[in-house]
């Protein structure tokens, strides 16, 4: 009898062990290790740790490539905020406004959404081909409309590599955020729109006075999700350019990856990872705060 009572008390903990174990080993301990590595100079071949304190971080401050990578993330974030948050909100409002019929609106919604379910390698390889100099679809289209002067080796030139990657990312994700905005707009009480219509509000006024205030919390959440994504971005850059040419498309994630796995500078890479983690946790904490607010 007592034994059963003990088992009953322990049962909840036992049931939680697998989840906690997975989170500890693969989420939390790695972050702790990041902090530990970042205070040392070492590489994977000769694992003699040498404590350098904040040395790696001091070096980061004077590393032009670090700042350049960070600027890459900032560009990524700014463009994404404009396209994926501002434009997606307008797009969602237009799709829900009844300007186009329900079935057509559903067709547009699904079309926009589809790129977001594609694997990153498919996206990367497809756009590498479309971006090919001269023979690729983009340059051919420019030639066809008489804008041959604008043709570029998009991924091969320093000036265009990162913007070209950022553009693909917008292509991939704007529909995803649009769908989330559509869900938020549908949660706005119909009566508010009807009241606005009786007042004679035009479409854009009911957008400003009903839709925008009605989805404020979603907007903040989407902005935070977008910034979070821009700080941690790695795979699309790695697949499309590997950070090149001549580091022109480097972002923090790709620079960190290169430092750890190519240059074998583990401590330095960990310092970059810590910087990324710090920014992510501030943005992420704000995100959690807002999503709790939204759904108490």
């Amino acid at each position: 009898m007592r034994r059963r009572a003990i088992i009953a008390r322990l049962a909840p903990y036992l049931a939680l062990v697998p989840v906690l174990l997975f989170l500890a080993v693969f989420l939390y301990i790695p972050v702790v290790l990041d902090f530990a590595y970042s205070a040392h100079a070492w590489n994977s071949l000769s694992p003699t740790w040498r404590f350098v304190g904040f040395g790696n971080f001091r070096e980061l401050l004077h590393d032009p490539l670090f700042w350049q990578s960070l600027r890459g993330n900032v560009l990524y974030a700014v463009v994404s905020l404009i396209v994926q948050v501002a434009l997606a909100l307008v797009l969602a409002a237009v799709l829900e406004s009844g300007v186009v019929g329900i079935r057509l609106s559903a067709f547009f919604r699904v079309s926009y959404f589809i790129p977001s379910i594609m694997p990153i390698t498919v996206i990367g390889l497809l756009w590498q081909i479309l971006y090919q100099p001269d023979v690729g679809l983009i340059d051919q289209a420019l030639h066809a409309v008489g804008l041959a002067a604008l043709a570029h080796a998009w991924l091969g030139e320093e000036a265009t590599a990162l913007p070209a990657i950022v553009a693909v990312s917008q292509w991939q994700w704007f529909g995803y955020i649009t769908v989330l905005f559509i869900v938020a707009i549908r949660a706005i009480p119909r009566e508010l729109y009807e009241a606005a219509a009786i007042d004679g509000a035009r479409a854009w006024r009911s957008f400003w006075h009903v839709t925008v205030p009605g989805v404020t919390e979603t907007t903040v959440l989407m902005a935070l999700i977008t910034i979070f994504g821009a700080v941690k971005v790695f795979d699309i850059v790695w697949v499309m350019t590997g950070g090149g040419p001549n580091n022109a498309s480097q972002v923090l994630g790709s620079y960190m990856y290169r430092s750890a796995f190519r240059d074998d500078r583990v401590g330095y890479a960990a310092a970059i990872a810590v910087v990324m983690f710090m920014i992510c946790s501030v943005v992420g904490a704000a995100q959690l705060y807002w999503s709790r607010r939204r759904a108490p």
Binding site: V100, I114, I117, T121
Partner: protein, 281 residues
Amino acid sequence: MMRRRSRLALRLAPAKLGALTILTILAVVTIYPLAWLLLNSLKSSDALFERSWALPTTWLWHNYPEAWRYGLGRFMANSVLITGVSVVAIVLLGALAAFVLVTRRFRGRGLVTAIVLGGLIVPPEVSLFPLFKIMVLLGIYNTYLAMIAPDIAYGLPFTVLLLRAYMTQIPPEMAEAATMDGAGLLRCFWHVYLPLARPALAAAAMVQAMRVWNEFVFALTFVSNDALHPLTVGLTTFGDSLNTNWPVLLAGLVISIVPILVVFLLMQRQFMRGLTAGALK
């Protein structure tokens, strides 16, 4: 008054037309590259570049079996295995944790919730090197487990929270009734909560299946043996080995997206429900 009304009518029609035009252009921009992918996978290399826009003059269906022979079958089988095992584990472990958090009162419940919630904001990208070390230490570097284990771990926070939110709506009397009957924790979970939570389980499974199927970074970093790679990483080596035979590469890309597209179009409802409940990219 008259003038105002007629101006309004005039302004409405162009607005509608303008909106429709922009929506259509955007749809073309998103869909055309994918249609281009499909059409050009059926051409010869020369035709791909010389008549990139046009329909194939001769439809080279054999690009597909050729792509398959380059080892896509193996990559696809790996993707299925990794995704299947990960999703079942994520959903079962996640549901069990959510069930305990919803139905039991115990010390440390708040702490566990915080740990799970915090997991949402730890991106795997910052931990790749430490994870690599851990894989080596656990002796699972270069095995399926090196992909499956982190796939499970990073799927759990989202899943636990999604299922917890759903299970709080299940009347607690259900659990109490089952406990009265002398059912243990596991039996109550298995026979009462799991069946009742089925819609949420489906939504969670869909979102996780999509995420794991598309996972790239773990496979790239923790597995160097190409025989174990899923489609996402396999396609990059596939692309390298084909070098300039692009139509065959395109055929490979098409093959690799067909399963996702079919599942997505069939299960759209569950997928959307899962996404919008969690809203995390």
